[in-house]
Symmetry: C2
Amino acid sequence: MAYRETEHTLAKKADTRLRLLKAARRLVQQGGFAAASASAVAKESGVASGTIYRHFPNKSELVAEVFRYATEREVAAVAQACDCGETAADKLTAAVETFAQRALLGRTLAYALIAEPVDPRVEQERLRYRFAYAEIFEDVIALGIQRGEFVAQNCQITAAALVGLLAESLVGPLKKEHEYEHDDLIHSLTALVLRAVGFKS
Amino acid sequence: MAYRETEHTLAKKADTRLRLLKAARRLVQQGGFAAASASAVAKESGVASGTIYRHFPNKSELVAEVFRYATEREVAAVAQACDCGETAADKLTAAVETFAQRALLGRTLAYALIAEPVDPRVEQERLRYRFAYAEIFEDVIALGIQRGEFVAQNCQITAAALVGLLAESLVGPLKKEHEYEHDDLIHSLTALVLRAVGFKS
């Protein structure tokens, strides 16, 4: 009986934790990390303020966890896009389109994840997730070289470069909503990336 | 008499401030921003700890000012590199080589300026300085298009993209000292950048 109670307690704890993360993600979607204070997250998720610190040791860890929770979904979407298409150029195009489309449709969240000045713990997570994106690109670039679609190059360097290229070229447009036509911007980015890998069209 | 005393006091204040910034820069060169605590800066510059807060309102502002002080020199070096050469491809190559060479010769400082997880105030400065680099690249890309060296493209998007490309492709090599041969890395980067702008060799 004690055992089942523990199981129940653990499940409830996991539930509350997920509720807090989802609430925090909604707040970041609306107003960036600046809007996801511990008290705001408590209010949004309908728990008492003190409860938050039973799930996260401090504010930094809460924010870092929200970052991970939101970013994992983005990384998964880009990875899935690479499963489509047969050629490396198709896969890379789909990855770039997915990354950029999702960012432009959820500007505030995307800006928060990519560039919002925030706690150093989130910066650490940003570095980790840039690496996760780079690993996805590295496989596609290697495939492209192997298939003779892309010029010979150091896949690791190019992969990291593409992550920086995509993130940085979106920072401006994410802040200046009306200056760019989505389709033009995405077309510019895919063309730029295909040139960068030396796609032989 | 009172006026001249004020002038003297102001000059002395500016001197001390510069001394603090230079000392902080040395510390960042040796151990990143983590090594540039207020007390370490005071010790390194030979002033009393309390003196620092007569020159900078708080730790964040000290760190942000050190970032600016160190980064301005880097931006100036890249801008100067663009003055060399006649063709846009030469200028862009010189800019990339300068950025990468300087980074690889001062790894700890470069990593601190580009990627070290640090105070949000430094993140704000990073965004500003990325824009300063982008403006330099934008002019060279526009020149290249005008001269028929580079393909037609949105200069602003490509310029921002190149800033991200360079920064992110150096983050890995700056952390893993022995994995890359400098010349190979710099050659990879210049080739990548020239492909990205669609250089018609």
